[in-house]
Amino acid sequence: MDAAGAGGGLSSGKARAGRPTSRMRGKGGGGSALMLASMLDILMSILFFLLKNYSAVLSDFTMGKDIVLPSSIAKIPPAAHLNLQVTQRAIILDDKEIVSIINGDVDRRDLYRDGVTIVRLAQALKAQKDKSQLIQSKSGEVQKGEQSFTGTIVMQADKNLKFSLLKKVIYTAGITDFVMLKLAVLKKEDG
């Protein structure tokens, strides 16, 4: 954008030697106008940058609090699926705390007799599955005989958690038909 064309011409331009005439003073030759053109250029550049990158980062993915995700060279952007968070303190399903974690593991009382299934998590996942299937059948998205439920779940887990806890979570997800596990990780910049 031309600076002179957007306000810059008010104070400069027809400068002549000698005393300014009354007409020149009346046109505002005495005060300096705000130079908006350069600021506008900067704003436009930032705007174009943001608009160009908007689609790349647009996501309704919500990152859990109190979680330090591990870094990875993965490149697939996150998509909207059932969100399971495993923090140092609790297991959270769609922003609702399901089970507390004490000393890096689930309390034995929250486990089924097999020692692996987390009962309340299994119930919550089953409810989510039923809800998803009901919505799909009501909306008529599913054809007869077609598999409606994909069982996709995104797990955000703290990088310092032990596999002894994670395997209980993954196993519980597996027995409730959430087998398409997706792990949320932080993108490592250098690849």
């Binding site: 064309g5 957007a6 306000g7 011409g9 008010l10 106008a33 908006l36 053109a37 600021m39 506008l40 704003l43 436009m44 930032i46 705007l47 943001l50 608009l51 990158n53 908007y54 980062v57 647009l58 996501s59 993915f61 990152m63 995700l69 591990p70 870094s71 990875s72 060279i73 993965a74 490149k75 697939i76 952007p77 996150p78 998509a79 995104v154 887990a157 703290d158 990088k159 310092n160 958690l161 032990k162 596999f163 002894s164 994670l166 395997k167 993954i170 196993y171 597996g174 087998v179 398409m180 596990l181 997706k182 792990l183 949320a184 990780v185 932080l186 993108k187 490592k188 910049e189 690849g191």
Partner: protein, 180 residues
């Protein structure tokens, strides 16, 4: 007879310059909106489907037919890795003083992949005391080739930004978590 209008009386007032204020207001609002709602979350996803249990007779039959396929498993323990693969003896990579020996594991996996380039699957079997971070690092080592690795192919610039580029330099991209 009326005289023709003089140029002086009908002189147009010159434009005082474009009023940019509403335009700047609009751009500022747009910028705030974009910055707020497109918060740059550097989160990405690793696909790690659970190993499927053959439940129907057809699936059991198919699994038996697939017995000849190339299988690679990496056992992750506190003291290092052990790689098992079809047609090879087990190979152990002990932990060094600083960290796990990811570099040697990577070299060996590239070597294995060279034997059967069509192989895509790898299974990780972590022990209970292994952290999630170590699991993710092993997944990274297993999934793709890096610049300088044997078999690395540069991605053509015309598809570099497209999803097709993800098909290049794959090692064992289908990672499953076992031992559950």
């Amino acid at each position: 007879m009326a005289s023709s209008p003089s140029k002086k009386t009908h002189r147009m007032k010159p434009l005082e310059g474009l009023n940019l204020t509403p335009f700047i207001d609009m751009i500022t609002c747009l910028m705030f909106f974009l910055l707020m709602f497109a918060g740059i979350i550097p989160v990405v996803i690793i696909d790690a489907p659970l190993p499927k249990v053959a439940s129907t007779s057809e699936e059991v039959k198919k699994a038996k037919e697939d017995e000849n396929r190339f299988e690679v498993t990496v056992a992750i323990r506190q003291d290092g890795f052990t790689v098992k693969s079809t047609g090879s003896s087990d190979r152990t990579f002990p932990k060094t003083a600083a960290d796990y020996n990811y570099a040697e594991l990577r070299k060996y996996l590239i070597q294995l992949h060279g034997r059967k380039t069509a192989a895509r699957e790898i299974t990780l079997i972590p022990s209970d005391d292994v952290t999630y971070d170590v699991m993710v690092q092993v997944m990274d080592v297993s999934r793709e080739l890096k610049l300088g690795d044997i078999g690395y192919q540069p991605v053509p610039p015309e598809i570099a930004a497209k999803p097709e580029s993800m098909q290049f330099n794959r090692l064992f991209p289908d990672v499953s978590i076992g031992g559950i």
